[in-house]
């Protein structure tokens, strides 16, 4: 039987950002094939990995994710021709940045999973879950969030953010 039937002290929260054409379909295939994997993962669907803004990843860590998976079509197989290439370059830079600020890169995984790779999806998710489980919770960004509201998307409406006079001035000066 699978690991999920065991009781663990720590159940990490894993967020997966996936493209709809390859990895989402691959995860569907894992389902139709009745494969089993840890239930820790929450999937967010995007049209393409090219759509995934690094800010999403930061925000996910902030909002309680202990591990993040980004997964899309294999290079060359992008439904949108080149979106995954842009994503690859973007995340290569982003990883360096994360590493620089001291985030353990073992918490963030990039994998290519095609629509035919249900088994690979299971492997990737299982591996990441178990790895993050051994690493324990990730407190850094969460603490940060309590300290300051630095994002326009921090739960508050845009009005509230624009309440600061500096921002309002800046906003009015545009266009």
């Amino acid at each position: 039987m699978h690991a999920e039937t065991k009781q663990h002290d720590f159940e990490p929260k894993i967020v997966a950002f996936v493209c709809t054409w390859c990895t989402y379909a691959g995860a569907d295939l894992a389902g139709t094939s009745r494969m089993q994997y840890p239930s820790n993962v929450r999937v967010l669907k995007f049209p393409c990995t090219g759509r995934i803004d690094p800010v999403f990843i930061l925000r996910a860590f902030q909002k309680g994710a202990d591990g993040v998976l980004v997964s899309g079509c294999h290079p060359g197989d992008c439904h949108y021709m080149a979106g995954n290439f842009h994503a690859r370059r973007r995340f290569a830079a982003f990883r360096a940045l994360l590493s620089f600020v001291g985030v353990d890169l073992n918490r963030l995984q990039f994998s290519w999973v095609s629509a035919a790779e249900g088994g690979k999806w299971v492997d990737v998710v299982t591996e990441l879950t178990e790895r993050v489980r051994t690493m324990g919770p990730m407190p850094e960004f969460k603490e940060l969030e309590h300290e300051e509201q630095w994002s326009t998307f921090a739960g508050a409406s845009a009005d509230k953010v624009l309440n600061s006079p500096e921002l309002k001035e800046a906003y009015d000066s545009i266009g």
Partner: protein, 665 residues
């Protein structure tokens, strides 16, 4: 959105077995903004859909979430139902609690917890969703067909017969392609030219077809329904309008010993020539590399003898831009050569066959020309080296094909059949001759195909030897063929007079370059990729571009013609409407914030982003901003993730929606 309805499906027992659906529905009902929630055995069933519609009306819902299977399964179903209930279909979403939850987890508690989470995330998505309207684009009802072989001809004729204008572009001086080169065709042995040339003439005479031969595709812009294709018309050096096709220039041309490509280099042609007598159009071209006039400036005989004065040495390449709504790609194939290849080429020739240095080792297409009544030998089977009639002919199948070591692991599909045909043609023409065929497998799926092959063996007395040839070398005027018969279990040696190689079918040279211009994908061999191997075998992943014939993969004539007609049918389907409707998941620019850096333009794979000038009332340029052409936008969202000022947004996947979902984690 403050009145959201959540519908949790049991999917029989598929979901309810591991997920407590009642709890999920109850938890959903407690999410702020959810006005109604319930669970039901089969949401996709007719009563299930009715339940949804009724709930929308009764509870005045302004957004709907169905927690059930994958949206890839039933999103359309429920969006239709929502639309019928008066909601915008894009305000209906699905939470996947089957494929991503109940089927992959066994622990009921954890699966239920996960299902609740998924529903929570998706409720946020619905909450931030926007009404979207489908996008319409106009359709130019004019098609472009690239390639004038049997595939292109068939597609062009079908589309033209349906009443649409067609532009047919062919790279060579005449249409006809490989089929015009063939002698007789399997499995009926009817003469290829007899069935091919009437179709060529039909193309030339069809009022709806504009034929450009000796022309190539230079540039492709636009999108489905609205392509702008730049066609390069290579300088023919003969004015097509003036030329009457009398042929005097060809007879008078002093340079006559140029190997004719149409005869695989075994016949001769002059420097001003038509490739073969039935060529369409019957207008010659000057082969400038071999023409004395172009090489040394001294000659000009053709211009002198030309009555209408059609020869024009000054002619230049010209370009036209064709507006078309659909493109059929039918560029066909070439044959693998066993020559030694320059270093670095992925495909190596056959050193064990002497790298093609033995003149009497020929390929299948050359044999076709030898067997053809219009060929260099007038239909007599005579070997190239000394013109003698070969009495022992060895055919070798799978040369290049199914040879991983040569870089080709696919089966070329047509060789088994045409080799069987060759043995028959040979037997008909050389009664006392003996044909041998070395083969690994005889692959003859097709109507009447296996019977045809068996006829070659049983009635036409071809000796088929299961086994391959290891080496060939010249001994006197014979070619020693060293092979094996794995059924007998011995080595076999044959002293052959002629050896015919069934060489692999490969995509045309430059297939990759054309694909890049068209924005279509191709495989590692350069064969063009269809959108789906089974269900979309004719369409490219790029909308509005269709495939026909061997450019997609090795194909015989019946399959090619079928696919060409299928591609034509797809074009006609597209042309049946004046406007094209498409999914409104496209990017939009907030011109107020856009600073005109055009980072988005650089990353857009579709070329959908244009520069737009914003002017004041006086007409002074205020700033330049990006503009997304909704007809071209593919909806990947790369631009949005790239935009530094966050002023471009993909409908259906806005930052607001995604951030709301992340917040709900």
């Amino acid at each position: 959105m403050s009145r959201i309805g959540v519908f949790v499906c049991h999917c029989g027992e598929n979901i309810s077995r591991t997920v407590d659906v009642e709890q999920v529905a109850k938890a959903a009902g407690e999410i702020p903004g959810v006005a109604y929630s319930c669970d039901y055995k089969y949401m996709c069933s007719d009563p299930g859909q009715t339940l949804l519609k009724k709930a929308v009306a009764e509870h005045k819902l302004d957004g709907v979430l169905v927690a059930a299977c994958s949206p890839r399964m039933h999103e359309k179903t429920f969006r239709k139902a929502a639309e019928a209930a008066g909601l915008n279909p894009y305000l209906c979403e699905m939470a996947n609690i089957r494929e991503h939850c109940s089927w992959v987890h066994e622990d009921r508690g954890m699966a239920t917890a996960k299902a609740k989470d998924i529903v929570k995330l998706m409720v946020e998505r619905v909450r931030k969703g926007k009404s979207l309207a489908p996008i319409t684009v106009p359709v130019t009802k004019r098609a472009l067909v690239i390639g004038g072989g049997i595939a292109g001809i068939q597609a062009a004729l079908d589309i033209a017969d349906a009443g649409h204008k067609v532009v047919l572009v062919e790279r060579d001086p005449s249409i006809g392609g490989h089929m015009a080169q063939l002698s007789e065709t399997f499995p009926t042995l009817d003469c290829s030219q007899c069935i091919m040339t009437p179709k060529m003439v039909d193309v030339a005479n069809h009022p709806n077809i504009t034929l450009f031969t000796y022309s190539e595709i230079e540039k492709v812009e636009g999108y489905i329904g609205n392509f702008q294709v730049t066609v390069k018309h290579k300088a023919r050096s003969v004015d097509e309008k003036k030329c009457t096709g009398c042929g005097v220039c060809m007879t008078k041309c002093p340079k006559k010993k140029i190997p004719n490509e149409f005869d695989q280099g075994h016949g001769m042609r002059p420097a001003i020539y038509v490739p073969f007598p039935q060529a369409v159009p019957n207008t010659p071209v000057i082969d400038r590399e071999n023409c004395t006039m172009f090489q040394s400036g001294k000659c000009g005989v053709c211009a002198k003898v030309c009555g209408p004065g059609a020869v024009d040495y000054e002619q230049k390449d010209t370009f036209t831009v064709e507006d078309v709504g659909a493109i059929v790609v039918a560029t066909g194939f070439k044959l693998y050569t066993i020559d030694r290849k320059p270093e670095g080429s992925p495909i190596q020739g056959y050193g064990e066959f002497g790298y093609g240095t033995i003149p009497d080792i020929i390929d299948g297409m050359t044999f076709e020309r030898l067997a053809s009544a219009s060929g260099p030998t007038g239909g007599k089977i005579l070997r190239p080296s000394d013109g003698k009639e070969p009495k022992q002919v060895v055919f070798i199948q799978c040369v290049g094909s199914r040879a991983r070591e040569k870089g080709i692991s696919y089966c070329s599909k047509v060789c088994c059949m045409y080799t069987a045909k060759h043995t028959m043609l040979y037997h008909h023409k050389v009664h006392d001759g003996q044909a041998y065929v070395f083969f690994m497998d005889a692959r003859t799926p097709g109507k009447g195909y296996d019977e045809f092959w068996r006829r070659a063996v049983e009635e036409e007395e071809a000796v088929y030897i299961r086994g391959m040839v290891s080496r060939m070398y010249q001994r006197g005027d014979k070619i020693v063929v060293m092979g094996s018969d794995i059924q007998v279990g011995t080595q076999v040696e044959i002293e052959a007079d002629l050896v015919v190689l069934a060489t692999a079918v490969q995509p045309q040279d430059g297939a990759d370059l054309l694909a890049q211009k068209l924005g279509i994908s191709y495989d590692k061999y350069n064969f063009y990729s269809e959108a789906h191997a089974k269900l979309k075998p004719v369409e490219c992943a790029t909308a509005g571009i269709y495939l026909a014939g061997a450019c997609q993969g090795p194909k015989d004539i019946p399959d090619t013609v079928s696919q060409a007609s299928a591609a034509a049918a797809k074009v006609m389907t597209l042309f049946a409407k004046d406007q094209l409707e498409r999914d409104p998941v496209v990017a939009k620019v907030n011109e107020k914030y856009c600073v005109g850096c055009f980072a988005c333009k650089k990353v857009c794979a579709y070329g959908a982003i244009e520069e737009k000038e914003i002017r004041d009332r006086q007409g002074n340029l205020v700033k330049k901003v990006a503009y997304v052409n909704p007809g071209v936008c593919g909806g990947c969202g790369t631009c949005q993730a790239t935009c530094p000022s966050k002023s471009i947004e993909l409908d259906g996947y806005t930052d607001e929606q995604i951030m709301a979902m992340i917040e709900a984690l």
